[in-house]
Amino acid sequence: MSVSRQELLIFTVARLLEDCRSVAVGASSPIPGAGALLARHWLAAKTPSRRLFLTILGSSRLNAMTSGGVELFDMAAQGRIDAFFLGGGQIDGHGSLNLVGTGHYPATDVRWPGSFGSAYLYHLVPKVILFREEHSRRVLVPKVDFISAAGPRDDGVYRPGGPIGLLTNLCWFAFDRSRHRFRLETIHPGHSLEDVRDNTGFDFDVAATITETPLPDAATLATIRGPIARQIADAYPRFVKQVFPDAA
């Protein structure tokens, strides 16, 4: 039974969310969205009395907020969002994110959309999962050209939140908030430590034992391909058509 790259990532995201009560997923994030739906599915199966509150921006059905766009940010400040996902055109070894562009600001060589809510949510959400499929030296850099959201640092700034790690097409790095560095924990099947080193532009630590990222079992795969794919189609019809054509 073969497991696609996307299915492995969806499964891994769901595992990272297992102890969460309330999860929000931002724009352009079909895989985190599907992973959060899977985590919700597991919680409902294991503990029917507890619900995982899930907000997928861009979806009207998977969205329980009624106070406008500000509500997500207020909820984060209130401690009512356990986990959120952030990415970036560049991510550096100290966990700083660049969603603005490369080169000299503001006339950047490449311009990305902008910082969105990253500069704020990165400080306030306890479990920020950095998610970026492309694992390359142009994305994972020693130092970002523009800091949209600053990585954790000892600057005395109120910061109950921050990154727990970085998930890519190759591996899962945990983020050590006291050392301000990433630590390689698991490598996805089919890839090696050498692949990760060759494609990572920043310095990182390596866990004493590196394991292979676990794969979903047959029942989980069936759940991802069936109900989860159908649910995420509400917000990401194009993604589902491409990756799960049978569910589209």
Partner: protein, 277 residues
């Protein structure tokens, strides 16, 4: 009741916006006033200060491409899955607009300060971001109520107008905005209120029932409205109609160059004027 708030067209609405005005505009899922945008381009408005609540897409790319924008204040410019904002990128490269890069909660918070007409508001997070370095109008202070707690201060945003598109107004000019509360916030923060296009005016009273009143922007905040059927096109409107993907593709091909964008304007924006001439 005389409907003095109701103007005859989006052209009349656009005529209310003077050069140099500061306008607040909504992001793509709220109701993008594309018909008003086309009317603003036809009128040749200049030097707008556009505040995106909290991000924007096609509307702003077109206003920039047509030379209408002096200052852009936004947390992102994106077409989502529907292409690249080439005119925005081109303007940045040429230094043709002043860019005030922000983050979504900062724009929301500054508008909430604006609607209270207080001069500034604090916001958590953000410190350490280069956004702060490039925003001379943002300041960091020590929390006066605690020790060792630096915090960001943002000046309030008070636009001249909020400009958006909504499904309908009632006969008294109350506008239905559903749960999209940021439309109320940005309108109430605006000195002159909302310039809003609607799909239709219904002969009902939205304030008469508790259920509809909760999702209503009262008429006192509405400067003027006009009917514009499919006024968000080619953007979608709520669950009433969806994004015209084919048109976005066409726009994406043409707006890649200044010449192509000019042809787009001739074909899809200046048509009314040509018809009148």
């Amino acid at each position: 009741m005389p409907q003095d708030w109701l103007l005859g067209s989006a052209e009349a609405l656009a005529a209310q916006v003077p050069d140099g005005a500061k306008i607040a505009v909504p992001h793509d899922t709220l109701g993008v006033p594309m018909e008003t945008t086309r009317a603003l381009i036809r009128r040749g408005v200049r030097d707008l200060h556009v505040v995106c609540v909290p991000i924007a897409g096609l509307q702003v790319d077109q206003l920039i491409g047509a030379g209408c924008v002096g200052t852009l204040e936004t947390s992102a410019i994106t077409f989502g899955e529907h292409g690249t904002p080439h005119r925005f990128h081109d303007a940045l490269k040429r230094g043709a607009i002043r860019l005030l890069d922000a983050t979504c909660p900062a724009i929301h918070a500054a508008l909430e300060a604006g609607r209270k007409d207080i001069p500034f508001t604090p916001l958590r997070g953000v410190l350490g971001s280069d956004l702060v370095r490039h925003r001379a109008d943002w300041k960091t202070i020590d929390n006066p109520f605690a020790e060792n707690d630096p915090i960001l201060l943002l000046p309030a945003i008070r636009p001249d107008f909020a400009v958006f598109h909504a499904p309908f107004a009632d006969r008294d000019g109350n506008v239905f905005i559903g749960r999209r509360r940021e439309l109320a916030t940005m309108t109430q923060a605006s000195i002159k209120g909302a310039l809003v296009t609607v799909e239709e005016v219904r002969d009902v009273d939205l304030l008469a029932s508790e259920e509809t009143a909760a999702g209503t922007l009262p008429a006192i905040y509405v400067a003027h409205a006009a009917i514009a059927r499919r006024g968000a096109w080619p953007c979608g409107l709520w669950d009433l109609y969806s994004t015209d993907e084919a048109h976005f593709r066409r726009y994406g091909e043409l707006a890649r160059t200044a010449e192509g964008f000019a042809r787009y304007l001739d074909e899809f924006v200046h048509i009314k004027r040509q018809a009148a001439e």
